[in-house]
């Protein structure tokens, strides 16, 4: 244990994401890092959490780390496996999901996300996967956590396409539209990156809440395409514990496929 190597940036993201789930009950899981984060949270800060996969699984209890969002291991031993009509209609739109995890190719200062195209929609430079369930997760999950690595290509002034709405043009506009259009949730509440943890302030704009061990404010500023709000006293993200790292390395991702 004393030989434990220091946390990687991916591990810092996973641990910070897991901690953001403290006490949460029902979480809509994505594959990759969110999947590991959620499984870590279930073993640490949120033992009662139910994992929901958009493929149609509630209360998943995967015996191995699922590679895809529809891996058979999420079905066997789950509490309920249902049609996607039920999953999106009864569970998500019906208001039963506490936290949805999203990522994207681009995010703006208000937490709006692009997973559709880089460039013009009709003649894209890069064709991305599109919404999948992201658009309705953004609207209907009670809150949204975003996991993304920082870069000026992804943390942008203006999205090329708004796939999933966040705080729109700011908190006031977002609050009005959420009520008027009957959104089920209150939008993004946190963004976890490889450098830090961000929240949203009263303007609905992203603000740095803590800086990961080893990261600097210069790195943070240099990898965000707008002038990011940074309060005076930014605490450090508490370092991963020995046990958190052990769980990731020995149980959740022993081959290091995701968190390396």
């Amino acid at each position: 244990m004393s030989e434990q190597r220091p946390a990687s940036k991916s591990e810092l993201m996973v641990v910070a994401s897991a901690r953001a789930l403290t006490g949460k009950r029902v979480c809509f899981v994505g594959v990759g890092l969110p999947n590991i984060a959620v499984n870590l949270a279930k073993r640490t800060v949120a033992p009662e959490m139910e994992l929901v996969y958009e493929a149609g699984v509630f209360g998943a209890n995967p015996a191995r780390l699922p590679l895809s969002i529809g891996d058979p291991t999420i079905v066997t031993g789950s509490t309920a496996t249902v049609s996607m009509h039920d999953l999106f209609g009864l569970y998500l739109q019906g208001g039963r999901i506490d936290v949805g995890f999203l990522g994207g190719a681009q995010i703006d200062r208000f937490g709006n996300l692009n997973t559709t195209v880089i460039g013009a929609y009709d003649a894209p430079k890069t064709r991305l996967p599109g919404s999948g369930g992201a658009c309705e997760i953004a609207i209907n999950a009670k809150e949204i956590l975003v996991i993304m690595r920082q870069s000026t290509r992804s943390f942008v002034q203006t999205l090329d396409f708004r796939t999933s709405p966040g705080n729109l043009g700011g908190a006031d506009e977002a609050a009005k539209i959420r009520t008027a259009q009957g959104w089920g949730g209150r939008g993004p509440t946190g963004v976890i990156t490889d450098l830090g943890v961000y929240g949203f302030d009263d303007d609905g704009e992203m603000v740095l809440r803590s800086l990961h061990p080893g990261a600097t404010l210069e790195e943070v500023r240099a990898s965000i395409g707008w002038e990011i709000r940074i309060p005076h006293d930014v605490p450090a993200t508490p370092a991963p514990t020995v046990e958190e790292l052990r769980l990731i390395r020995e149980e959740l991702d022993p081959t290091g496929a995701y968190v390396s």
Partner: protein, 309 residues
């Protein structure tokens, strides 16, 4: 009742025509690669391919020149990355000489599900709480607002999708086409009920008595089915719950193959054109290959319906 059992060759020849809208459904689970490959072999053209997640099968069909249009909600190699053949037909800079861009009609998952539901329920639209303040309605004029008759609120709607043919894969059916499946159910029921014609592909044909012993397990009645094909391992490289695992190695391998148009064509030559049918494809892998994909059993247990006479 009369048997609808036919070979895959017969099923595709009879029910999939040039220009059709085809939905091969199955969310990661039970994707009928066997049907997709036979469509490629039979050289169908100008198909509109509908699927929530086009997955590798539509990447292969696009690469083979079957498609003119995609209707979808998520375009990727699940758990791996991009669908490169489709990207080459959607990004102008990547387009090969003589090729044209695919037509694209794009929704979210709930929207695609809703399109099938509306089609299956014979409704002119399906209402849902999505798309609000997203750019998707700006690029897809078929995503529209609908006014509630119970107050000022407007929500969003998608139109029905009624494929000419829906193709699904499942664990078992009887010869009449009564289908039972377990594991992820996706939107197969809705896509099948919405379709004009339905092809069902299964791992195993069972007597009707097996179906009737657990009627709640039936997802599609033979009534709406036009052809039943028995095709063991017909969903490989996707999986069938309880029968075999997803071939994740192949999903990763496709990421490499499909980045290169020539390698993609070579793969199609070897694994699609170069095999007569799915049985030949399975034989080419060898029996051992599928043994290592077979999970130990995890039985559901039995419930009692009671014999009421």
């Amino acid at each position: 009742m009369s048997s609808k059992l036919v070979s895959m060759r017969e099923a595709i020849a009879a029910h999939v025509h040039d220009g059709d809208t085809v939905a091969i459904e199955g969310f990661t689970h039970c994707i009928s690669f066997a049907a997709g490959h036979e469509i490629i072999r039979q050289k169908r053209r100008n198909l509109t391919l509908a699927r929530m997640t086009p997955d590798l099968i539509y990447d292969q069909m696009v690469a083979a020149g079957c498609a003119k249009k995609l209707i979808f909600s998520w375009l990727g190699n699940p758990g791996v990355g991009s669908l490169h053949a489709i990207r080459r037909r959607t990004e102008p800079a990547a387009l090969a000489a003589g090729e044209s861009l695919l037509e694209i009609e794009e929704y979210s998952h709930h929207g695609m599900v809703g399109r099938y539901v509306a089609g299956a329920h014979r409704l002119p639209f399906y209402p849902l709480r999505s798309y609000s303040e997203s750019d998707l309605p700006k690029v897809n004029p078929l995503i529209r607002k609908v006014a509630s008759p119970y107050g000022g609120e407007e929500i969003w709607a998608v139109p029905p999708l009624n494929p000419d043919v829906t193709i699904i894969h499942a664990q078992r059916a009887d010869a009449e086409g009564n289908v039972q499946m377990w594991g992820l159910l996706g939107c197969q029921k809705e896509a099948a009920f919405a379709a004009r014609r339905v092809i069902v592909v299964v791992e195993e044909i069972v007597p009707t008595s097996v179906i009737r012993s657990d009627p709640n397990r039936t997802i599609i009645p033979g009534l709406i089915v036009d052809a039943v094909v028995c095709e063991p391992y017909g969903a490989h490289p996707s999986y069938v719950q309880g029968d075999y695992d997803r071939d994740n190695a192949f999903y990763r391998e496709w990421d490499v193959i499909s980045r290169d148009a020539a390698a993609t064509e070579a793969w199609l030559q070897e694994w699609v054109y170069g095999v007569e049918d799915r049985a030949a494809y399975v034989a080419k892998f060898g029996a051992d290959y599928f043994t290592q994909l077979t999970p130990p059993p995890a039985p559901s247990g039995s419930v009692d319906y009671g014999d009421y006479r």
